[in-house]
Amino acid sequence: MNPIIAKDIKRSYGKVEALKGISFEVSKGEIFGIIGPDGAGKTTLFRILSTLLLADSGEAKIDGFDVIKDYKAIRQIVGYMPGRFSLYQDLSVEENINFFAKLFNTSLKENYYLVEEIYRHIEPFKKRRAGALSGGMKQKLALSCALIHKPSVLFLDEPTTGVDPVSRKEFWHMLKMLKAQGITILVSTPYMDEASLCNRVALIQEGSFLDIDTPENIVNKFDQEIWSANSNNMPKLLIDLRNLKEIKSAFAFGDTNHITIDKETFNKEIIEEKLKSLGHKDIILKGIKPTIEDCFMELAKK
């Protein structure tokens, strides 16, 4: 049986439907990403799966245990790292980890091997108060505390939000290590570029999954033809592209613009001519492969 199974989970807050019927399964040792913006329902889903919140309807099982009937058993086997830093700010690094170890009848010494790779980065600061740690170190401490009781499933709710690109890379490296130990990881993120680091992802918006698949398949399934467009005046180019009937959408993407085209009417030479007549120079139009972010925007429109 898969370690995470969710069937038609619904949950509303008053009139707001936070989750509109979510179903998915995660296999053992998989890194499964829930990818979507703030307010999409990610945290609600995590809270339900970690037995901290009741769904209005639907079913969920973690390692075969029911989130309602067997909540006590689930709490023994999952590690949960909430989006907001939730350790004791006034306790030291060492006190925090000892506290969480003790809650689960274990000790840092006993399970040191589990957290070693992560904990040794913060061990030199073990006497420091958790509240006085840097963002990156807080994150490492929180992950160590979530791991100290040897969970088989790890829930990480937006562990990289507000974290700089270098620390984000480091964090994903740590997740890969944990995966290698056979831990099943459910992780959420608003950063689309992190999708490619997951085995499978679910794209979530307004309480519904837009798609569930491997990152490669999501990109390969994209049913639009996508081009990159550059000229000497990028902001103007974006506006001009949107006014062309051959172009269905145009968005800035870093140092280029991505456009989806109407295959019937699009002709590269004609578009280049039109852009030239609008005053653009150094025009480059190229057919490209979509990114997860392109896919997300297209799926979100439907």
């Binding site: 703030d38 840097s134 963002g135 990156g136 939000t161 690109p165 270098v166 870093g254 140092d255 925007m297």
Partner: protein
């Protein structure tokens, strides 16, 4: 072109820790200036000084024509500020938020009403005038928060991770608002962890351990570091950081 921010040998120490270590730079009127750096590099400390909320240990910073050390109150009247974490009062209606912030920023009562109508029209928010902010989608909140931050037509607007967690389409329309503000001559001083957004800036600075280790146009930075994109530039520079504290 008029210089709106001028920083010279700015230093900020907390005890024996040097958070900001002798930085100098200038930002022009209407420029979109990307202020990047790893967590703990000192970005927030610099922003606080430039907003007149914290005094430099030494060095000088002039914002909108006033010295941050001597005329902090004058600066506060001439800047706007928006962050992802705190933006608007959820339990006030759209028009109430506009009125409150406009009043705080010192816009004349008689001007507030007319300008509110204009703003709501421009954003296409006329039907939301009486809506409580908590009922707005996140993307709308962010757009409204930005519009409120520039309602009093400041010289500079400081945007602290304004697009964190926002969906991809809204993130892009948000940047179109930044472009519009810059065209009107408002200097936009932006921090972000999205490296594609660094490409939308006129110039980008990258802070490492309290210093500014790089400052140029995105195009030039990519050339200097032979990088494919700004993420590579950032990884290259920020990896060198030795500092641990935030």
């Amino acid at each position: 072109m008029e210089t709106v921010i001028k920083v010279e040998n700015l230093i900020k120490r907390f005890g024996n820790f040097t958070a900001v270590d002798n930085i100098s730079f200038e930002v022009k009127k209407g420029e979109i200036f990307g202020f990047l750096g790893a967590n703990g590099a000192g970005k927030t400390t610099v922003m606080r000084m430039l907003c007149g909320l914290s005094k430099p240990s030494s060095g000088k910073a002039i914002v909108a024509g006033f010295d941050v050390d001597k005329d902090a109150e004058e600066i506060k009247k001439r800047i706007g500020y928006m962050s992802q974490k705190f933006s608007l009062y959820e339990d006030l209606k759209v028009w109430e938020n506009i009125k409150l912030f406009a009043g705080i920023y010192g816009v004349k009562k008689t001007d507030i009403k007319a300008k509110t109508d204009e703003l709501l029209r421009e954003l296409g928010f006329e039907s939301e005038r009486e809506t409580y902010v908590k009922a707005l989608p996140l993307g709308w909140k962010q757009k409204l928060a930005f519009s409120v931050a520039i309602f009093h037509e400041p010289k500079v607007v400081f945007l602290d991770e304004p697009t964190g967690g926002v969906d991809p389409a809204t993130r892009r329309t948000f940047w179109e608002l930044i472009y519009k503000a810059a065209e009107k001559g408002i200097t936009c001083f932006v921090t972000t962890h999205y490296m594609d957004e660094a490409e939308y800036c006129d110039r980008v600075s990258i802070m490492v351990d309290g210093r500014i280790d790089a400052l140029d146009t995105p195009k030039r930075l990519k050339e200097i570091y032979s990088a494919k994109n700004m993420d590579e530039v950032f990884q290259h520079l920020a990896k060198k950081a030795e500092r641990q504290a935030d």
